[in-house]
């Protein structure tokens, strides 16, 4: 839903901030309600508007939310704090996850690149293997090696089943 990219810092304009607050609060309540319904879990939300002394919003309702929070309070401290985060923690977690994703994506992309080299080389389009870095060459050779192993294993299996003539002169294949 990106109409305009919003800078993630406190909105200076008072009126805008109040409108955004109302809109986003509505959205947040909706999300909470969806989560509770889809997953059948106890959820509650408590929001204080800027400078408010009374909770601006309590979802689902004061008694229900209080119930959830009582349940929360009743839990042993360790369990309570295990998955509790504040803004800083949450952002750091998010960065960690994104870094993992980036590593994985990079790895996948690199593997694809090696695959491409393999296809091209087998096609005869990489004469002399010019212009490739040592890393690329090593990965290429490694991939070729790995595939070769698989192929040879399969060949061995087929030879064992008698479906292929053995290259090493030996038995007469047949029945």
């Amino acid at each position: 839903m990106a109409r305009k990219k919003v800078k993630l810092q406190r909105i200076a304009n008072d009126a805008k901030r109040r409108t955004t607050f109302r809109k986003r609060l509505k959205g947040l309540t909706k999300k909470a309600s969806e989560l509770a319904t889809l997953c059948g879990v106890d959820t509650c939300l408590v929001v204080y508007g800027e400078g408010e002394a009374q909770a601006t919003e309590v979802w689902p309702s004061v008694p229900e939310a209080t119930g959830v929070l009582e349940r929360f309070k009743a839990m042993p401290q360790l369990d309570r704090y295990k998955k509790m985060t504040d803004l800083e923690g949450f952002l750091k977690e998010r960065i960690g996850k994104l870094l993992e994703q980036r590593k994985k994506a990079r790895c996948d992309a690199d593997e694809s690149e090696t695959k491409l080299l393999l296809v091209e080389a087998l096609d005869g389009r990489r004469v002399g293997l010019e212009g490739l870095t040592i890393e690329q060459l090593t990965s290429l050779g490694w991939m070729a090696d790995a595939r070769l192993k698989i192929v040879n294993e399969r060949l061995e299996k087929l030879r064992g089943q008698g479906l292929l003539p053995s290259t090493t002169a030996g038995y007469i294949h047949g029945y």
Binding site: C39, L45, V46, V62, T85, E113, L116, T138, A146, K149
Partner: protein
């Protein structure tokens, strides 16, 4: 090393940190023991069994991790945004995934609400298993401390203030963290785009070829396998020859020069 098809291994080594001496790999348990490649830097140090694993799992009827809710259309990384009915999810797996994703999303929205509008927020969610997940800004405790119904009725409840705690990072620092996160996200997208681009090139390269060199090994007929094996062997030998050439030219010259200057 026998590639085990039942185990899609995913080693997350940042290849930039690979050293030429190959010292890192001496300790790397997952690499094949092929002596030639074990000591050289690798572009993607991962056993090549992704393809095999997916094929094997297809035959065995197990779903690959991450595709639990059905295979995405070919060429697509995921099923995309799906319209969903807001009703209790019966399937355990789907419900678990949904709760995890939505919880993170909700925390994200809550964090944005608090940052953009200066609000104090606390979200508490349980899981089907009985675990609790909570997010709060400035902190769950701070917000709940002010929540009247929970107080023992000792006087008026204070308003949760965003206290400038000495240890806590300032708003600017948090902003910087946010920016870094966005940047990393962009990098992820870039890498995925690169992979799609390469995948396209691979399809082009395969088109119109007589042999599907790239094809699933299982699919190759018995007659083609020996040829394929020979071609792979040839390639591997060429590669090792080339690597040796490159290594000798980069390593030899300094010594040679030194000897000459002695004359």
């Amino acid at each position: 090393m026998v590639t085990d098809p039942s185990r899609p291994i995913r080693e997350v080594e940042d290849w930039v940190s690979i050293t030429v001496s190959g010292k890192k790999f001496a300790n790397h348990r997952r690499l094949p023991t092929a002596p030639l490649w074990g000591t050289l830097p690798l572009l993607n140090p991962r056993p090549l069994n992704l393809r095999i694993a997916s094929i094997a799992s297809r035959f065995r009827g197990t779903a690959r991790k991450g595709r639990a809710m059905g295979r995405p259309p070919r060429g697509r990384p995921s099923r995309g945004k799906q319209r969903i009915e807001i009703r209790y999810i019966e399937k355990d797996e789907s419900r678990q995934v949904t709760s995890c994703k939505r919880r993170t999303g909700m925390f994200k929205k809550a964090s944005e609400l608090s940052t953009l509008c200066g609000a104090s927020v606390a979200v508490v969610t349980f899981s089907k298993a009985g675990n609790v997940f909570a997010f709060g800004d400035p902190s769950v405790d701070a917000v709940l401390h002010c929540y009247a119904p929970l107080r023992q009725g000792d006087g008026a409840a204070p308003a949760p203030a965003h206290v400038e705690d000495g240890d806590a990072p300032s708003r600017e620092e948090l902003n910087a963290v946010r920016q870094a996160a966005e940047q990393t996200k962009a990098q992820v997208k870039a890498e995925e785009a690169r992979m799609r681009d390469i995948a396209g090139k691979i399809t082009q390269a395969k088109a119109g070829r007589q042999f599907w060199w790239e094809a699933d090994v299982e699919a190759l007929g018995e007659g083609e396998l020996p040829d394929f094996a020979r071609a792979l062997e040839r390639l591997r030998d060429n590669v090792s020859r080339r690597v040796n050439t490159l290594l000798s030219t980069t390593l030899a010259p300094p010594a040679v020069r030194r000897r000459r200057s002695k004359k």
